[in-house]
Subunit: 149 residues, 2 copies
DNA sequence: GTCGTGTACTTGACTGGTCAACCATATCAG
DNA sequence: CTGATATGGTTGACCAGTCAAGTACACGAC
């Protein structure tokens, strides 16, 4: 492995370790909300009817279905989501964002946005954003799907 | 947040979730060695005298000292490292790579190298490596140190 | 010297996830 | 229709880490 490649792997390792912790720590400190739960709420808020199946949610969170179950249980206990039996498939469950959950997300959103700027986006110019997106996208895509999840 | 920025954050999130799992899964499958333990051995192999203090090792693994303690205990049970009381500071412990540990690392190394190529480096050309290294480096550096660790 | 404070590490309790076994329902072959 | 198999989700057992309290030693003030 060339020195350049080694430097890249180290920089990548640092980002992989440091960025998610920083984003999570920011959000917990400012909003008392773990990043995983924030992402779950954020995903539901984007969907039609503010509702999703467990497997979609799990995929979106890069988690196993059982991990998603645990997360949803926590959110349910907080009153931020409700679970309903799927109307179209009796085995499945729909997770539905409650008003309280939406409210919670609205309150947390500016804080996460600021955190993302400070921790990531502010360090990059426009060209870098473009190139990084492409490069990270191609790394991410050739790894994913059935092999990892 | 602009669409470009949002796309970047998503690409980054994917890489952050997917790359370390893929590298870990590869190494466990091929070598039956968790990535964390591999990194610990690899770091020790680079040091003078194949020896480091717990706090150095913890920092290198982006872990708390207590996390490092657990890792070292596992490696010790496998016979890959030994712990000695530090000669210069009676509170501290030196972690020393054993011959068996070095051997284990040598056997695992080609496998990890191949995995890193396949999962990351192969997807990037020379320019991208350069730009990514710089960009990830600046993201990583402005986040680190005392605030997260 | 010894006392107080600081530092290096370990340990018990906990957290947030995984994996594998399981239950309930769906779907398909006959 | 019925039985066999596949799928969606939950659950118990576990795992790899964190955090906070504790232990042992170091070091500076006196």
């Amino acid at each position: 492995m060339s020195p350049e490649e080694k430097a890249l792997m180290q920089a990548l390792a640092r980002v992989i370790n440091v960025v998610p912790r920083a984003l999570d720590a920011d959000l917990r400190r400012d909003q008392d909300l773990p990043l995983t739960e924030y992402f779950a709420l954020a995903y539901l808020a984007e969907t039609d009817g503010h509702r999703a199946r467990m497997n979609e949610l799990a995929a979106r969170l890069w988690m196993t279905i059982s991990g998603a179950t645990r997360t949803v249980i926590r959110l349910e206990q907080l009153g931020f989501v409700a679970r309903e039996r799927s109307a179209t498939d009796g085995r499945g469950a729909d997770v539905v964002l409650t008003d309280k959950g939406l409210e919670r997300l609205r309150r947390a959103w500016p804080s996460h946005l600021q955190s993302a700027r400070r921790r990531v986006l502010d360090h990059l110019d426009e060209d870098e954003v473009r190139i990084l997106t492409r490069a990270l996208g191609s790394i991410g895509s050739n790894v994913d799907d059935a092999e990892v999840c």
